[in-house]
């Protein structure tokens, strides 16, 4: 059994002190297996970004333990064990598309020849070969986001952290990007922690959907999409969107989101096994 990509145990995150204190996360436990795709979904302000930032070691937990591939989060960050993408593409506007994708490689001292080959490969992967020399302001929002994803993949991380990367895109571009992400993940076999606001997006992309609720932020349930008859995300096709299991999983996630407390009475156990018994 390999080390899980992410293991979060009993994590709390409290912002501020005294009366202005905000409990962003309480007692969060979560494991993401190697190669697994897990989506985080929940209403605004429930601490999804906070959890992702803790895993990325961009922020520190108030208490609890976070391991990434068996190491502490800080060590994992320094070892470049993950790639990260945000809602904002966050490209450096003065660098070309190729220059942006190359950035992490360059910062970590990869040889120029190696960099060039890798960038060409990634441009191919996200379908932007013709735009290598363009600057970000010459690209559409969807294209910029593809560049950001290519950059996150640059060092072939075995874990991808993505915070609403398709949040600012229109529905059509979004579905296309989702298909691409499924393909990319199948090719790289990376584990993914993916924050989203969209139920269909979560269900389509993931192996498991983690549902969170606010005040204080905690995990209210986990839906195992595979148990609904959907294939492993690694070989999921676009047809999955029309399958019966897809709608069943969507309904489960929605039930969890709307009635966080009635989780068990709805017959949906955190692992999602309840569904098969229905």
């Amino acid at each position: 059994m390999t080390e899980p990509a992410i293991s979060v145990t009993g994590v709390d995150r409290v912002f501020g002190k005294g009366r202005k204190q905000v409990v962003a996360l309480t007692d969060v436990d979560l494991t993401v297996a190697d190669g697994e795709f897990v989506a985080l979904i929940g209403p605004s302000g429930c601490g999804k970004s906070t959890l992702l930032r803790l895993v990325a070691d961009l922020d520190t937990a108030t208490s609890g333990e976070i391991k990434v591939f068996g190491k502490g989060a800080r060590q994992a960050r320094l070892d470049q064990d993950y790639g990260i993408a945000f809602q904002q593409a966050g490209l450096l506007p003065w660098r070309t598309v190729a220059g942006n994708i190359e950035l992490p490689l360059k910062i970590h001292g990869a040889a120029p020849a190696l960099r060039k080959a890798r960038v060409a490969e990634l441009l191919e992967l996200v379908g932007l070969t013709d735009f290598a020399k363009n600057h970000p302001d010459q690209l559409s929002g969807g294209m910029q986001q593809r560049v950001a994803i290519a950059r996150a993949l640059a060092e072939s991380p075995r874990l991808l952290l993505m915070d609403e990367p398709f949040g600012a895109l229109d529905e059509i571009t979004r579905e296309r990007m989702q298909n691409e992400l499924v393909r990319i993940c199948a090719e790289t076999g990376a584990a993914v922690l993916f924050v989203t606001h969209s139920i269909p997006e979560a269900v389509f992309l993931s192996d498991r959907v983690v549902v969170m609720s606010p005040r204080p932020g905690r995990i209210t349930g986990i839906v195992d999409v595979r148990a609904d008859g959907l294939a492993d995300h690694h070989d999921r096709t676009e047809r999955a969107r029309d399958q019966e299991g897809f709608f069943r999983a969507v309904a489960e996630v929605r039930a969890l989101l709307h009635g966080g407390a009635s989780t068990s009475s709805a017959g949906v156990e955190p692992a999602g096994v309840g569904v098969e018994e229905r």
Binding site: A56, D57, L58, F86, G90, W94, I107
Partner: protein, 294 residues
């Protein structure tokens, strides 16, 4: 093609602008009342006498004539040019010192919060001290300095005073620029595990360029003014500052003469602005920073 046309149009409008000023001057001189225009006791428009307002072409002609009646006096244009170069050199030195000091201050302030709250009020306060007050101070302190065979000169004093004016916009502008990267970019740098120095080079400096360029332009203008005024306060000969004073004495007999160094100062200002323009051209790629990316 469109770009060429734009540039051409800019030149045409520039020339038209200057022509309009000259025309206004001469038309007013020709048709304005001899005693100027008075509202109550206050003269709101100048007298149109030859003494107060020489013809624009007289001012131009004056450049071709010798500075004084002395037999070996050089042409005014020669004298003004020399003085302009002298002042420009001092202003450039002041600008350079000011930019270095301003950048260092901005770096320190952006590095440590405490330094910013401790230093920024002083930086702002420094500009409220009148130039006339610091000139003698700079000269006195400067005269104490003697490193090896190096002796503090009046030129150094003038450059330091020019720098005193120039460092301010650079410090404030660079500080804003260094703090301008958005959260996503900062998070990214942290995720890459890079230290302060490296993220300064890759992120903070490039994204400060749009803030820095106007600051550098302002610093150049300040350095020119600082140099000219400091020449007067310090009493340094050879530059435009002293020339303005010296030529003003001749105003009664030779009304076009005092205008010569003023045009010299304008030319120096234009040269300084042009140099910054070239710098902006070199830093062009980084000016894209202001463009918001999704």
């Amino acid at each position: 093609m469109a770009q060429l046309w734009n540039r051409f149009r800019a030149v045409v409008f520039g020339v038209l602008g200057v022509a309009a000023v000259v025309a206004t001057w001469d038309v007013y001189k020709a048709f304005g009342p001899e005693q100027g225009v008075l509202v109550g006791d206050t003269r709101v428009l100048p007298r149109t006498t030859d003494l107060a307002m020489p013809h624009s072409w007289e001012m131009l002609q004056r450049f071709g004539e010798p500075v004084t009646g002395l037999p070996d006096a050089p042409d005014a244009i020669r004298a003004v040019f020399d003085a302009s170069m002298f002042s420009l050199g001092l202003a450039a030195r002041g600008w350079l010192i000011g930019v270095v000091v301003g950048m260092l201050l901005a770096l320190l302030m952006s590095r440590l919060r405490i330094v910013e709250s401790a230093l920024l009020p002083w930086v702002i306060l420094s500009q409220t001290v009148p130039l006339i007050a610091i000139a003698p101070l700079v000269r006195r302190w400067g005269s104490e300095i003697q490193i090896g065979s190096y002796v503090w000169s009046s030129e150094d004093s003038v450059a330091v005073i020019a720098a005193y004016l120039a460092f301010f916009p650079v410090a404030v502008g660079a500080l804003r620029g260094l703090k301008s990267p958005d959260k996503t970019h900062l998070d990214l740098m942290r995720a890459y595990g890079v230290g302060w120095w490296r993220s300064l080079i890759t992120l903070r400096l490039p994204s400060s360029v749009p803030y820095l360029l106007p600051a550098l332009r302002l610093a150049a203008a300040s350095a020119v003014i600082g140099a000219v005024v400091a020449e007067v306060s310090i009493g340094l000969k050879g530059g435009l500052g002293r020339m303005v004073i010296d030529y003003a004495v001749a105003a009664s007999g030779d009304p076009a003469k005092p205008w010569a160094p003023i045009f010299g100062a304008v030319a120096v200002g234009l040269a300084a602005a042009g140099a910054i323009g070239l710098l902006g051209l070199a830093l062009r790629p980084f000016r894209l920073t202001g463009v918001s990316t999704q």
